[in-house]
């Protein structure tokens, strides 16, 4: 079993001193039954041999008994916190390893796969149900199993005092019980694992049921009861096979007394007959009975086997994750060449992209140049692939065909996504809201040591001051009500924080700013204000803006229209309007209602 060295290695990694202390205490605990049996046996020998007048001879065994008792209490109480700390150290390191592994994969395509999310659930070492265990628990269980074996060996030695054949007589059924239990547990875990998909589905329904958006819909459309029934059904679908299994297991356990009782009966009868026939003493009999019985309770309910198994699952899931991410990650060539500021930042050359598992090409033979110092707007219908283009630009996906050149004609995949991303800053539609301080929410837009002066300047650029003024602790206020002293921001306020995050990145070295619908839910005035601030940045860096609002877009230096997975029109607003193509038509539709009122209905065919 290659798992044993791995688990013991984990134990060791928690700290040599603490690992040794826990090991010693666990071993001590398991020696207690054998020691107790010996001491009681000793007590009996004094009691039966010396007769009535010598209570004083019993003081030694009694004192020994007391000592065993104290040691057992001490081991039992103090091993708990030490084992806790050991487990926490192992699990903490494991969780950090999972985050690091997942977060350091350059692209997100693997991460978005359902199997990756399922593996993360298994590997996360933060049990959401009673079958899951953590690697730390597994490492301790490994130790427990070893200690169990040592304890059983000690008990066997006591039993062998009477006769050697008692050892197999008692040990074999005892191990058979453990084996039965282990197999049953294994079956449960396997079944549970096979049903993780259902569990995820039920979890999503639960989340949806209590989310703000679905909450409104289910009230207006009155499908609350329906949704709860659906949730119930999912629960039943998941648990019915489990019930069947548990019932089968309970029936299977009816065999246990048939294993335990006959061998114990034989053993007890044998030692009792031995005493009666003068073959052994009461003292031996007592010790043998106590130690023999302890063999059956020594291995407990098989918990450590289960714990070891389930905890190992988290480790296996981690390995599989590592394989999954490793396999799909192209390692970039080392050493990016020194870069200069005079470049045409990005060129898409015949780039095609199809989402994994689909056949529809979102991008198809796309050519696009993003120049430095310009404000480029990308427009297009919904689903034209604008957001996908941004994800490719940020190296979050690799193109299916074609290539993206950055800087001085270097292939993005050769340069490596990490190196490239140091030079860009992106605001996504669904940006991240850290439950950290306002300052952290801005400075996490850029790796490295935060620079307070730049932070202030970025806030100035983004017009964040009004938001800051409302925060009780200013920059240090956590942006989540769940944190002490924290506050929740509105959508618009968040959008401004994120804009600050992007501008902070710009001031600390990013050369290209990309924004996906940064003003979708902002009102007219704020939108214009944001646009003005962005336009100011273009000299420092290139700005790429995705927007449906042609009224703002028209002020861009250059506008490109994305249609059918490629760029079909490119030019300034005036040029495109003069061209009379799709952009001109889109603009006309939006503008028309301002010019002539709304009633000029346009035929659908004309639009698309």
């Amino acid at each position: 079993m290659g798992n044993t060295p791995r688990l013991l290695g984990l134990l060791w990694s928690a700290g040599k001193g603490i690992a040794a202390a826990v090991t010693v205490m666990r071993l001590t605990q398991r020696m207690i039954p054998a020691a107790t049996a010996m001491v009681v046996g000793l007590l009996m020998s004094r009691l039966t041999v010396h007769g009535t007048k010598s209570f004083s001879t019993m003081l030694v065994p009694l004192a020994a008994f007391g000592a065993v008792l104290f040691v057992s209490h001490a081991a039992e109480t103090f091993v708990e916190p030490l084992a806790y700390l050991t487990q926490q150290r192992i699990d903490g390191a494991h969780r950090v390893a999972v985050t690091r592994l997942v977060a350091s994969s350059p692209t997100v395509d693997v991460l978005e796969r359902p199997e990756a999310q399922q593996l993360i659930r298994q590997a996360k070492a933060d049990p959401d149900d009673y079958t899951q265990r953590t690697p730390g628990q597994a490492a301790l269980a490994e130790l427990d199993q070893a200690a169990d074996a040592a304890g059983a060996a000690a008990a066997c030695l006591v039993v062998a005092q009477f006769s050697w054949w008692l050892v197999p007589l008692l040990l074999i059924p005892s191990l058979a019980c453990v084996r039965l239990r282990y197999r049953q547990r294994l079956e449960s875990v396997m079944l549970w694992r096979a049903q993780l998909g259902e569990l995820l589905r039920a979890d999503r329904w639960q989340e949806m049921l209590t989310s703000g958006g679905v909450g409104k819909d289910l009230r207006v459309f009155g499908f609350g009861d329906w949704a709860v029934r659906r949730l119930s059904r999912l629960h039943v679908a998941r648990s019915e096979p489990m019930f069947a299994l548990w019932k089968r297991h309970i029936r299977g356990q009816l065999w246990i007394p048939l294993l335990v009782a006959p061998s114990l009966l034989l053993a007890i009868t044998a030692v009792a007959a031995g005493t009666v026939n003068g073959h052994g003493s009461i003292a031996t009999e007592t010790a043998v009975l106590a130690a023999g019985a302890s063999l059956f309770t020594m291995f407990g309910s098989g918990d450590s086997a289960l714990t070891r198994l389930s905890g190992l699952e988290a480790l296996t899931a981690y390995d599989e994750l590592a394989g999954l991410f490793g396999k799909h990650t192209r390692h970039p060539l080392p050493a990016a060449p020194a870069r200069t500021r005079s470049y045409s930042p990005v060129r898409f050359e015949q780039v095609g992209f199809t989402y994994p598992g689909t056949t529809h090409a979102v991008l198809d033979g796309l050519d696009l140049e993003i120049r430095s110092g310009e404000l480029l707007a990308i427009v297009g219908l919904n689903g034209a692939g604008k957001s996908t283009l941004i994800k490719l630009l940020a190296g979050l996906y690799d193109p299916t065909s074609g290539r993206i050149l950055v800087g001085e004609g270097q292939d993005l995949s050769e340069l490596g996504a990490e190196a490239w991303r140091e030079r860009i800053s992106v605001v996504f539609q669904d940006f991240v809201k850290y439950q950290l301080s306002a300052a952290d929410n801005v400075t996490l837009g850029r790796p490295g040591v935060p620079d307070p002066a730049v932070l202030e300047a970025a806030a100035q650029d983004a017009g964040l001051q009004p938001v800051l003024d409302r925060l009780p602790d200013g920059w240090e206020t956590p942006l989540a009500r769940s944190r002490t002293g924290g506050v929740d921001l509105s959508g618009g306020q968040w959008q401004q924080v994120v804009l600050t995050r992007a501008l902070y990145a710009l001031r600390t070295g990013a050369e290209l700013l990309v924004l996906d619908e940064p003003t979708a839910h902002l009102d007219v005035r704020t939108e214009f204000e944001v646009f003005r601030r962005l336009a100011e940045q273009r000299n420092a860096a290139g700005v790429v803006l995705i927007s449906h609002r042609l009224s703002t877009v028209r002020q861009a230096d250059r506008i490109v229209l994305l249609d059918g997975g490629r760029i079909t029109e490119s030019g300034s607003h005036d040029e495109l309007v003069a061209l009379g193509g799709s952009y001109a038509r889109m603009f006309a539709i939006q503008a028309e209602r301002f010019q002539h009122g709304h009633r000029h209905a346009i035929e659908e065919d004309e639009l698309l």
């Binding site: 107790t36 007590l43 019993m58 104290f70 103090f78 916190p81 700390l85 903490g92 969780r95 950090v96 690091r100 977060a103 692209t107 991460l111 359902p114 999310q117 933060d126 009673y130 019980c177 999503r204 639960q206 209590t210 989310s211 958006g213 409104k216 819909d217 009230r219 459309f221 609350g224 329906w226 709860v228 356990q253 246990i256 007394p257 048939l258 294993l259 009966l265 009868t269 009792a272 009461i282 009975l289 106590a290 309770t297 098989g302 689909t358 056949t359 919904n382 940020a394 800053s425 996504f428 940006f431 996490l444 790796p447 769940s482 509105s490 839910h521 005035r525 449906h548 301002f594 346009i602």
Partner: protein, 596 residues
């Protein structure tokens, strides 16, 4: 305490109803466990005494009893666990839907914005199995208590002095309790840091947040903070546990002294012929069992922090839902068509926990058959106004009437079955596309024609064409389905909103915020047409919320909101003519942007 007992009774009843055999078996197993423990102690004494007296027959008979009792004990240790899981899952299968049923049954939406509510929901839902476990923990504690009593009786039969051991057992009980309290306190104190590390872990490993973290290169920093939060929690909790261990050891040391003393007493009596060797063996057996039993009583009655939080959260949610339902007084059915219309009379509203008025003394009459547009800047109260119409909130002051009837007096479910809406933060229903749309009209959930029509009206036909299994495609990538873009989701929500045939009130809250211009235009034209049709057939009122002024010019009535106040109202022509008016001003900005 009575609440807890009532809850446990209720949970045991659920488990009896859903799994009578397993519940009965569990009780039987508990009784058998007690009997077997006593059997072991008594039969072992008999074996020793019989061997000492040389009566082999008695010894064999006692050995039979002992062997059977051991067999039963070993078996039950395992069976109990399986029964336990089975019963837990059965009860949980009823409890979770019950909690969600309460929440879905709450009329309003106040709870969604209340962090205290969300905390409780998390506490009760994510730990519902701990709630289900709690009555069985009590059963186990009672079992251990009974076992303790029986053991003491047996000891007392050897010598009444042995009953003093009970006093010694009470000492660790108290020390254990104190230690546990310290551990609980540490858990509470570190709960926030623990949540933070969990949050950071999720951010680092989820697909949606993954984009930002990669681009910003924040991964390593995130990992560092996660590790720091984890270490802080582990260290503080470890220290509390260590202190608790010290306290516990003190308690058990006292017990050990008492135990050794008692054993000495029994041995002394045996040595002086007032007892047998079997008595000593039994005293050891019983007393070491006693130690386990006392530990079980302490362990099981001391609920963990999670269990206590879960149960308290459960009660809180139940009371909240009950209070909300009690506030629901409307019984009047909604009219089948609107004759007069809808009127706001001095309506004010502020969100719970804020002192800013989201709506401030709004009065307006909306005649039946009107298309109303609500415009205003961010946070001016547009969405609040339509939410009040859907009865998501109750006005703090003033009232809203529908054909002269106070909205509060209308039966909410009935009123809602007469309205339809697409909200700005619509729900993303991760189910099949067809269901996502069809849920807009539950009776027609499987009516494919109806759904197809709604899809057409929402300009969403092209989305269906791109889906691998058409209408039956599962949505949501994490469930192995297809992910839709923001605009595509929006059109699903819109299609859902047009499922209902003849609503009296139709709300479109920023229905096209994420749509492109042609789509937006097509949808507006179609919805305008639909609004006119509805107005004719049922006198329906259509409310469009937008900050895009281009989309609202054709409305019969435009309401301009500013920081919760209704500042202007009228038609486009009227409002445009107002010199220096707010509408004219904002319209001007946008119009200028489109001038060629």
């Amino acid at each position: 305490m009575r609440r807890y007992l009532a809850l446990w009774y209720e949970l045991l009843r659920i488990s009896w109803r859903r799994a009578p055999a397993a519940t009965a078996a569990m009780i039987g197993v508990c009784a058998l466990t007690i009997a077997a423990a006593a059997g072991i102690a008594l039969s072992l004494r008999a074996v020793i005494d019989a061997s000492a007296h040389g009566t082999l027959g008695t010894a064999v008979a006692a050995a039979c009893v002992a062997a059977v009792c051991y067999g039963v004990t070993v078996t039950l240790q395992q069976t109990t666990w399986d029964l336990f899981q089975l019963l837990l899952d059965k009860t949980n299968g009823e409890l979770r839907p019950q909690i969600h049923g309460w929440i879905a049954g709450i009329e309003g939406l106040d709870h969604m914005e209340r962090t205290d509510f969300l905390d409780r929901l998390e506490g009760a839902r994510d730990h519902s199995w701990q709630i289900c476990m709690s009555p069985w923990q009590l059963v186990m504690a009672v079992r251990s208590g009974l076992q303790l009593g029986l053991m003491l009786l047996i000891l007392g039969a050897v010598s009444p002095w042995l009953l003093f051991l009970l006093l010694f057992a009470a000492v660790p009980l108290w020390f254990d309790h104190r230690g546990k309290q310290a551990v609980l306190d540490a858990e509470t104190a570190t709960a926030e840091a623990f949540r933070l590390q969990r949050h950071l872990f999720q951010l680092g490993t989820r697909a949606d947040s993954g984009k930002d973290i990669r681009v910003a290169g924040a991964g390593e920093e995130l990992v560092r903070r996660q590790a720091a939060a984890w270490d802080e929690v582990a260290h503080l909790r470890y220290r509390a546990r260590m202190r608790a261990a010290g306290s516990k050891f003190g308690g058990w040391a006292v017990f050990a002294c008492g135990y050794v003393g008692t054993l000495a007493l029994v041995a002394y009596q045996a040595a002086h012929g007032r007892g047998t060797a079997g008595d000593v063996v039994m005293a050891v057996t019983v007393a070491s069992g006693l130690r386990q039993t006392v530990q079980q009583v302490v362990g099981r009655t001391e609920s963990t922090l999670a269990t206590r939080t879960a149960i308290e959260s459960y009660f809180w949610l139940r009371a909240y839902a009950a209070a909300e339902t009690a506030r629901t007084v409307g019984t009047i059915p909604a009219p089948s068509r609107l004759d007069q219309g809808i009127a706001f009379e001095h309506v004010s509203y502020s969100y719970p926990g804020t002192d800013r008025l989201a709506l401030d003394d709004v009065s307006v009459r909306i005649p039946a058959g009107t298309v109303v547009a609500i415009v205003g800047e961010y946070g001016s109260g547009k969405t609040t106004l339509v939410k009040l119409l859907a009865k998501f909130y109750r006005p703090d002051e003033g009232r809203i009437t529908v054909d002269g009837t106070d909205l509060a007096d209308l039966d909410t479910a009935d009123w809602r079955s007469h309205i339809s809406a697409a909200f700005q933060d619509f729900g993303r229903l991760e189910t099949t596309f067809a269901e996502g749309v069809g849920l807009g009209d539950l009776p027609h959930l499987t009516d494919h024609e109806r759904i197809a029509r709604a899809v057409r009206e929402a300009d969403a036909t092209d989305i269906v064409k791109c889906l691998p299994q058409g209408m039956d495609t599962q949505l949501g990538r994490e469930l192995g389905g297809v992910d839709l873009s923001e605009g595509q989701w929006q059109r699903v929500a819109l299609a859902r909103a047009v499922m209902r045939g003849e609503p009296l009130l139709f709300v479109l809250d920023e229905p096209t915020a994420s749509l492109d211009a042609p789509s937006e235009h097509a949808i507006f034209e179609r919805q305008m047409g639909r609004a006119r049709q509805l107005a004719k057939s049922t006198g329906a009122v259509t409310v469009i919320v937008s900050h895009r002024f281009s989309t609202v010019t054709g409305a019969d009535l435009i309401l301009v909101l500013d920081r919760g106040r209704l500042v202007e109202s009228g038609t486009h022509a009227e409002l445009s003519a107002l010199n220096g008016g707010r509408y004219a001003d904002l319209y001007g900005i946008q119009a200028a942007a489109y001038s060629t």
